[in-house]
């Protein structure tokens, strides 16, 4: 084996490692989510950025918080706060909605590795 062969093997191994690191995910973790108002998509956002998001619904503005691969309703102009009770969502297939305000979020990830639906 020559030095060239060793170099080729090292490069190949490094490429495999890099691809693994880049594309492998826990089986059910979501990577992005979609926001809808009254069923119509209004935006698609990654879960890996820390940010707050205001969404205009029928009654007013709902506040979504994205942090550490998760998203949740923080505030919403509804009386019962069911959406806020839903807490953090992080799995592919998860969803939460503020029905009075007609705002919903649904999470998705690499469907080949994750789940097709969640029963709750």
């Amino acid at each position: 084996m020559t030095r060239g062969d060793v170099l080729a093997i090292c490069v190949a191994a490094a490429c495999v490692g890099a691809l693994y690191a880049r594309h492998w995910q826990p089986p059910v973790a979501a990577t992005r989510f979609e926001v809808r108002v009254a069923g119509e998509p209004v935006g698609r956002y990654p879960l890996d950025q820390k940010r707050d998001l205001w969404v205009d619904g029928r009654l007013g503005r709902s506040l979504l918080r994205i942090d550490n691969g998760r998203v949740r309703f923080v505030a919403s102009p509804c009386r019962n706060q069911v959406c806020v009770h839903s807490g953090w969502l992080s799995s592919s297939g998860d969803a939460a909605a503020c029905l009075p305000n007609r705002v919903s979020v649904s999470l998705s990830g690499d469907a080949g590795a994750g789940l097709d639906a969640v029963s709750f």
Binding site: A8, R70, W88, G114, A117
Partner: protein, 363 residues
């Protein structure tokens, strides 16, 4: 082609070839179509029946995406008819029937409602009244009938007692349910069975339109048919008390006609005085059922799984197994107040729980 004579040149060409093959392989790996963007998977999500409904179709190789999206839009319109028909509090078929009862009239059950009334009557009898569609007035008292009208304190004990007393003296619903009443205090609420039935209807309709592989998800009430290409559908079941690492309690795979329906105390509830008051009302006590956090039922049809998940929740940790048997449910599990799982043997073979869950198999 004749190889060059120089050994250096031959070595160089060999390495060049290897390098090009490797570069090609990794380029393909990096650029290959992502599994999330499967062109044969068509999904549509909309709000109906007071929740999020989503449908995933897995197309056959010769089926067209555009046609599938049209079929789902048609289905969405049909679903709003279904919602209007079964809504207890609006002016559809069931709402009008309720208003006629309130006026003191005896009612005929309209033909489009007949089948589900019959099924509700049978399941109510099989569950010994733990599932009961006559409890609309109790649900109303608790404020769980309308997501914009939840209470934040429980109703007065006397009010609950009064509505229980009228329920106890009201005529039972019997199959075949052609007529009912007079029973002016009874208000029918099909909330514990209609979503499951809607998912059955969805499968029937979409199958008639030529789609045989699908999941219908009506607010976490799942109904599957067929498969997702070369594998089964993969279903997760929500953890009743999730934390950052444990969003899901279990997973299972389904192939063919199955409903997976979960009832939990976390779906609609309020807290008062340190206690949780949820929407799964025991028709015999008038209060939210105690002792369990969640129940999951797997059954061939959504209507059965929906009604059974409610009845088993109401039955509680001591009696759920017997009630399942009475209702013809073989596959179910319950999560008790301490987070421990009891599961039927038939379902235990199929479900994978996350680590750290204590699971007891019941014969």
């Amino acid at each position: 082609m004749k190889l060059p004579d120089s050994p250096h040149l031959r070595l160089f060409l060999r390495r060049l070839l290897l390098g090009l093959v490797l570069a090609g392989l990794f380029t393909w790996l990096a650029l290959r179509p992502q599994p999330g963007a499967d062109p044969r998977l068509v999904e549509r999500e909309f709000m109906a029946m007071g929740t999020i409904v989503s449908v995933s179709l897995y197309l056959d190789a010769d089926q067209d995406r555009g046609a599938a999206e049209d079929a789902l839009r048609t289905f969405e319109r049909g679903l709003s008819d279904y919602e209007a028909r079964w809504s207890a509090w609006r002016a559809g078929a069931l709402g009008q029937l309720n208003q006629a009862l309130e006026r003191g009239e005896a009612v005929q059950i309209p033909a489009p409602l007949q089948a589900l009334f019959d099924e509700a009557a049978q399941l109510s009898a099989a569950s010994a009244g733990r599932f009961d569609v006559r409890i609309g007035r109790l649900v109303e008292l608790w404020g769980f009938h309308d997501e914009t009208q939840f209470r934040s304190v429980p109703p007065a004990t006397e009010d609950i007692g009064a509505r229980l007393a009228t329920l106890a003296t009201a005529p039972p619903l019997t199959a075949p349910a052609t007529g009912y009443g007079p029973a002016p205090q009874v208000w029918f609420d099909f909330g514990a069975i209609a979503k499951g039935d809607a998912t059955d209807q969805a499968v029937t309709r979409l199958r008639a339109a030529g789609y045989h592989h699908l999941i219908v998800n009506a607010g976490g009430n799942l109904r599957t048919a067929g498969r997702r290409g070369d594998r089964a559908w993969r279903i997760g079941i929500r953890h009743p008390r999730p934390d950052a690492e444990h969003r899901l309690l279990a997973t299972l795979e389904t192939a063919g006609d199955e409903a997976v329906i979960t009832s939990g105390d976390y779906e609609r509830y309020f807290e008062h005085g340190g206690r949780r008051y949820h929407h799964l009302i025991d028709p015999r006590t008038g209060y939210p059922a105690q002792g369990l956090q969640a129940v999951t039922v797997v059954a061939p049809r959504g209507a059965l799984a929906d009604a059974a998940s409610t009845a088993l929740f109401v039955a509680g940790p001591q009696h759920w197994r017997d009630v399942a048997r009475q209702m013809g449910v073989e596959q179910a599990f319950v999560v008790d107040a301490a987070g421990k799982v009891q599961i039927t043997a038939a379902l235990a073979e199929r479900v994978k729980f996350i680590d750290g869950i204590e699971v007891h198999v019941q014969p």
